[in-house]
Amino acid sequence: MSENGVTGDGPAIEARGLVKVYGETRALDGIDLTVRRGQVFGFLGPNGAGKTTTIRILATLARPDGGTARVLGFDVVSERNAIRARVAVTGQFASLDDDLTGYENLIVFGRLRGLSRAASRRRADELLAAFDLTGAASRPVGGYSGGMRRRLDIGASLIVTPDLLFLDEPTTGMDPRSRSQVWELVRQIAAAGTTVLLTTQYLEEADQLAEQIAVIDHGRIVAEGTSAQLKARVGSGTLHVRLLDGEQRPRARAVLAGTLEGPVRLGADPLTLSVLLATPADPADTGRLVGHAMTRLSDARVAVAEVTLGQPSLHEAFLALTGHPASPAVTDHEDANS
């Protein structure tokens, strides 16, 4: 875990009661956070929940109005330079110099990180090759695609391997292929021993990458745990029903709403609907309740193609924990029928 010469054994991040006020808004309203060294920690929340503000404080770019935080054992207010030397930040919008070429961007960061001219050039060449950007190295970054920018952006954060990497919404607005490339990069960076704090509005991203997830909403952490733990907190599971005929969906919805406790939601696919099941007093009753609902569907002459009972998705977990969906980007046609 300490392959990068991480000193000390304390947590990578320890924040207690962080508060940040902008005018009338409490952007952060008492954030507690503990991130183990070597962990990929997911910070999940909608736009404006306080994710970026938290990163700005932890990366010494903003000063907390209340609370304390230590990053790699150093205080975020009084020991800023010690933190800056060991941490890299990749911001929400790929923050590179559009006028400069990819190569020149990396050289600038290499020199500013204290590498010699020769070492900066060597490192830039290595990173450009690893990130498949050698062909674009001498082109201005302004002409790069979103995926190329993000790769160069992450590369710039690895000029000197950081002990802790902040990734603020690394895949927002990316196509699926670029997204999976970035995910693979994050896995490799974490495997090499760097602690990663990743913010995202995508539940799938947190699910895929993060060992530990904190859900943030309105400047507060509303839930924390592994992806499985968060899903378990939400309810006993979700019943997914797929119909043969979409015309029958309103009828199926009425039947399910009448027989099961919990909101019935219509899927984006006109043939599907799902029920977030409330946990019954005795969990063993779940099967009987679902069976009863199936019988009632048959009685109502609704033709069912497929029925599955599964754990709730992180999306459903988010909805249940915060009372609203994670973000417009991931919201399907929902209709919380409660």
Binding site: E104, L112, R177
Partner: protein, 281 residues
Amino acid sequence: MSTPTATSRAVPEAHRLDGLLAPARPPRRAGALAASATFGWRAMLKIKHEPSQLTDVIAIPVVFTVLFTYIFGGAIGGTPGHYLKTLLPGTLVMGITACTMYGGARLAQDVTTGVFDRFRALPVWRGALVLGGLLGDAGRYLLAAAIVVILGVIIGYRPDGGAPGVIAAVALVIAFGLSLSWLWAAVALLVRAPATVMSLGLAVLLPPTFASNIFVQPRTMPGWLQAFVNVNPISHVADAARDLMNNTGGTGGPVTWSLIATAAITLVFAPLTLHLYSKQG
């Protein structure tokens, strides 16, 4: 969390970081001078990649020197040649002051693109980014100065102060321009929008450039305007440039006043800029 399992996995289109993330002993923190030089290099690269940003730097001194020499020269100074003695050191001052807000606009652009925060999160001296930008500004000012002087010589200006006088005048005006660079850097960090810095720059710089003795001596102006022209630092810097270039130094009063104005503006705005830079939002 062992390296082999994760990196040996076959992944389509994967970018392999094998060996790249090896424990690198963190290098020593970049020194203040090295960091400033890096930012200066960056500023030069931006000019190299985007030479069109020099249009104003070239156009303003050319247009005003030629225009005033031939249109107003005879009327104001008797003959164009005679007028050039007064005008050319003045357009030198104008050409440089008129492009002092570009550095600020560039800094504001760094703020809006987010690259500013990325620089700020690095363990480098807080003044390095602005100082590096000033190196880029100095390059721009030197170009403007060279254009004015060469153009002047072509159209008949002969400096009595010779090369030493011209060099001294250019150095003095660039120093004055750099003090204004600090001013615009502070403005950039306050308003954080490149377009606002540019329009503020025009609005703030244009009136005192004309309400100075660059083009005409204030004798025919109304009293209140004369009063302004006489305290306007741009008038003093223009007079100082005339003294140095035309070798009419005398007691050197304008030079002294120019140096005092330069020092005063720098002493106010350099610390303010550094404060705004490191202020945590």
